[in-house]
Assembly symmetry: C2
Homo-oligomer: 325 residues x 2
């Protein structure tokens, strides 16, 4: 199956949208720190800068997009709540964003979602609606909630408000470290990488964007090779934030602006996650370790030595009782 | 067995020694950040500030004392090297300090020491000398190395240079957060708590010092109850940095300046370690989690509500393949 898409990146989200998002969300988010580690630098022969969105509220960059989307709702819309289907970080992020803006969040989650993810949503005051663990059931339940409540759908990535919100991470990052040569981010649905492309293409002449993907969920890699959007079927990876296919609004960024998509094995991901925790003492989730693994990977295109490489650490929500090693 | 000691705290180390140490070590150490976490604050009803010595070079506050001690050696002494016996963070810290000052570090380690601890010493260029896993053998080997090489002994805690160096953590901490009501640190040999007492007693009118200990290695608690220095025999705890007895130079601080020693079970320690990692995404070792567990413990003396509580996170060196949960 091939999806036809006709968007150019510049048709979708502009730098002005990201800057507006940055202003809207500023009162609610952490300006996350940038971490460096001399030992890791020595190991890879570059200067690595880690934008710690794992230290963002709700433990992931997803909070930026969710807050930006909810902050744009009218009073009338806020009175009716928001709805999404997600088993991961977007669910918790939307629940918390809704809580801040005093509206209800209906979160459709598959029955297979981990207890820890459900607990997070409930902790932030969200209402969990359980569905079957497949996309059809998720969509069906979400639509039913929408029609019953009039709630506004806030999708996890294929949405201009979400992409603009996620682009604020790269905006801060380039303010904190202006002379980056590369910016590396993981690709799941593509919201983060798209926002990163918007910001980077518009504000840095030198900085290239690299995407990172698990070998077992490599739709971005395959799509870029084929020059057409190929969906992800039957993903197999421990990086639970990167299972989904890209959307028609995020694929054009991967197609036209991302310089390379580097795929890594789950083993490389686990090694990177452990290495990072051991050396920096900071916990990152597998979906983030994929980006560090990509920088370590021999598959990364030749970028020379001693480059300034920025890595967006997308999240740190890990079930400590089920570590992947 | 009771050891007689006659020192007053003010006879041992003065604030001037800590300030001198601070100047000496500044080029070599990290000024570690202070971390806060709203969720933890809500849980305990206080404002918690964490001084992250787990982010210190070599992953522990021990580097401060080691650098301070080595920095005071003469050229002639440096030519002959340094020696210590340690199975833990002091070993790696001394190896790295010696490397910086271009001298050799002979580290006597028990054969039972973990591979990861040995690797750290070797990575920093230290020479590991294996001994039997008991105190007699450690002392015997260390003395033999001393007599063979003329190396200077740098003990892990019972040493004024070490105590002054460790006191620099609290000095920075009170600069970063001047209005602390309490400062909490773990007690092993007592180097960290003693340095903390020197600094805090001399620079803050309001800030009290609290010690934290595992129930299975509670020599400071028992000594303070008995008002005499009782050694630790047969310690049983996962907090491998807190196994040792206090020394005659550190006990007077616990006796006279520490307001309370709170003991916690290993189960409380593991819960605190997991809670901290889950909420802040930052890895701390069990010996540090003891201090957080003490603040959570119902045994902590009544300090009221909404206090500013500083916790010195002593280290973050954890064997990720042998997590204590």
């Amino acid at each position: 199956m091939t999806l036809k898409v006709h968007f150019k990146p510049t048709d979708i989200v502009q730098l002005a949208d990201v800057k507006n998002a940055s202003r809207s969300i500023r009162p609610y988010i952490h300006r996350t720190p940038v971490l460096t580690c001399q030992t890791l630098d020595r190991m890879v022969g570059h200067n690595l800068f880690f934008k710690c969105e794992n230290l963002q509220k709700t433990g992931a960059f997803k909070f930026r997009g969710a807050v930006n989307a909810v902050s744009q709702l009218s009073e009338a819309e806020l009175a009716k709540g928001v709805v999404t289907h997600s088993s991961g970080n977007h669910a918790a992020a939307l629940a918390r964003a809704a809580q801040i803006f005093g509206t209800e969040a209906h979160i459709v989650m598959p029955s297979s979602a981990s207890t820890i993810k459900r607990k997070a949503v409930i902790e932030y005051g969200g209402r969990v609606i359980e569905c079957e663990p497949n996309l059809e059931s998720r969509l069906e339940y979400a639509e039913r909630v929408q029609s019953e409540t009039g709630a506004t759908m806030i999708p996890p990535f294929n949405d201009v408000r979400i992409i603009a919100g996620q682009g604020t991470a790269a905006l801060e990052f380039l303010q904190q470290v202006p002379n980056l040569d590369l910016m590396v981010a993981p690709i799941g649905g593509g919201g983060l990488i798209s926002g990163t492309c918007v910001t980077t293409a518009a504000t840095s002449l030198r900085c290239k964007v690299i995407g990172a993907e698990p070998e077992g969920a490599d739709d971005a890699f395959r799509s870029k090779e084929a020059l057409k959007l190929l969906p992800q079927t039957n993903p197999q990876t421990i990086s639970d934030g990167l299972l989904t296919s890209m959307g028609k609004l995020t694929w054009p960024y991967v197609r036209d602006i991302v310089r390379q998509v580097v795929t890594v094995s789950d083993q490389e991901t686990v090694s990177a996650m452990k290495l990072f925790l051991e050396r920096t003492k900071v916990l990152i989730e597998p979906s983030s370790a994929v980006a560090l693994a990509a920088v370590i990977s021999p598959k990364l295109m030749n970028v020379g030595h001693d480059r300034n490489i920025g890595i967006i650490i997308s999240g740190g929500n890990v079930d400590l009782d089920n570590l992947p090693w």
